[in-house]
Each structure stands twice: as C-alpha cells, then as structure tokens.
C-alpha cells in the first residue's frame, strides 16, 4: 500500500510519515505544490496539518483543492487538512470557541471506520486556533470535544476523512489505532 503525506507546513508532518512507515506502508512526504498528475499511483493521501489560517490563507494550502477534486481514493485530512477539506466543500471555519493546545478529551459520536475498536472517550493532542464552524453538506461529524463540536468528520459520498486533533503525536491515546483504521478503510476501498 502506498500512502503519501502532503506537507502543508505542519510541525508534525514528519511524525505522520513516521507512523505510516511504522505501519509498513510505502510512504513519502510531498510538497503541497505537487501537481496531482505528478503524484503517481497512490492508494491514499494524508493532508497534513499546517500553520495557515485556511479561511484567509488558502493559497498556502497549495494544491490540496486539486487533490480533493481528483482523488478517487481515500484521503485523511489532519488539523489544517481537515479545515481545508471543510471549506473546500462549502463549509466554513473560524476562531475556536476555545483554542485547544495540548491534551483534550475526545468524545466519539460515530464509530465509523476511524474509531473502530477504540473507547468512546479518550484523550487527544490538539494544536489549533481555528475550528470547523459549518460542516459541509454530505459530511457527518464523528467526534467532538468539550469545546470543539467538530473534532472528526467524514464524507458520506466519498472516502474522505478528517480529524482536528493529531493522531500522529504520542500524546494522543489510540492515535496509532486511528491510523490503522484509516489504512483498513483504504484496503476495503481498494478491494
């Protein structure tokens, strides 16, 4: 299985790559300016976190829009990757009710693929000033925290998944399981 990590400038992009390598996936980090047709054959993409305020700095998210338009395979958006996914499909983001930096308690609303086999509540690591305010049509919310209503979401029409928190960071409980679950979804998609 080949899953590339799109680098949106986040501080933990390298950790996303490390987790995938640990899970024995062929992976590499690609700049978010890579044209879609130069990515080559992949089974999935991970849109990394990043610093941009996606509401006003979408230009710094490079070709993420093209990836979402053209991908006929699963995509996982993390943090800024999730926020971009939300705005790309007609949702919106804005300043968080309370910016989350550090540990937060996650409450799983829908198990779906991402949260199979993990508890309904567990701690995750966050690092965001903004959050998804309006979920795009055709997406459902999978999890929330005490102050952030949209901590995870997925498209009901395509294999697009997104999390606001950082599963690649050791301080996120069950982070590795979430990545494993995403890879299982990729396998199922390709069957």
């Amino acid at each position: 299985m080949r899953v590339y990590v799109v680098d949106n400038g986040g501080q933990w992009t390298h950790r996303e790559w490390r987790v995938l390598k640990y899970l024995k996936v062929e992976t590499k980090i690609i700049p978010n300016t890579t044209p879609f047709d130069q990515i080559g054959q992949v089974d999935a993409l991970v849109l990394s976190g990043g610093a941009p305020d996606v509401a006003s700095e979408a230009g710094r998210m490079g070709n993420n829009g093209e990836y979402l338009d053209k991908a006929d395979f699963p995509v996982l958006g993390i943090c800024a990757g999730m926020q971009f996914m939300a705005t790309h499909y007609g949702g919106s983001t804005g300043p968080a009710v309370r910016a989350e930096f550090g540990r937060a308690r996650l409450y799983v609303d829908q198990e779906d693929h991402l949260f199979q086999g993990v508890p309904r509540e567990f701690d995750v690591w966050e690092s965001h000033n903004d959050e998804v305010k309006v979920v795009p049509d055709g997406f459902e919310v999978l999890a929330h925290s005490d102050t952030c209503l949209v901590e995870a979401m997925r498209s009901l029409r395509r294999p697009l998944y997104a999390v606001q928190f950082h599963p690649e960071v050791e301080n996120t409980d069950f982070g590795m399981d979430i990545f494993r679950n995403f890879l299982k979804a990729v396998e199922e998609w390709n069957r």
């Binding site: 044209p35 979408a58 230009g59 070709n63 829009g65 093209e66 338009d69 790309h88 007609g90």
Partner: protein, 72 residues
Amino acid sequence: MEPLNEGLKKVLADALDKRRRDDTVENAVSREARRAGLRYQDYLDIMEAVRVLSRKDKLDPWMAAKALLDQQ
C-alpha cells in the same frame, strides 16, 4: 486543452465577479457552477483549465482565471 465553451466561460466570469472574501477559486467556481445547474465534471473542466494556465505561466489561481477569460 480545448477552450472552454460559452457556458463554462460564463461560470468562470461569474465566479470572478461574485468572488467573496477568502474564497478560493474552487469555492467560487463550484458555487457558480451549482447555481448554473452544471455537473461536477463541468466544474472539474473549468478548474483544470485554470490550473493548467496557472502552472504554465506561474500565476496565482485567481490571476490565471482572469487570464483564461481574457485569452478566450
């Protein structure tokens, strides 16, 4: 790449005209394409034309959208 037909050009022109603050080109084009009752493939065709020009001439996507309309 084939030039855009009149219907698609109008959608692109409307996207430029009715652009909202913080819109990406994708946001604006998809909104106008939906309003015009176009299909998803039409949106992809418009965006492909914009992206190809943006890369070829190293333009920001909005500048590429404007240049595309000026060209055609």
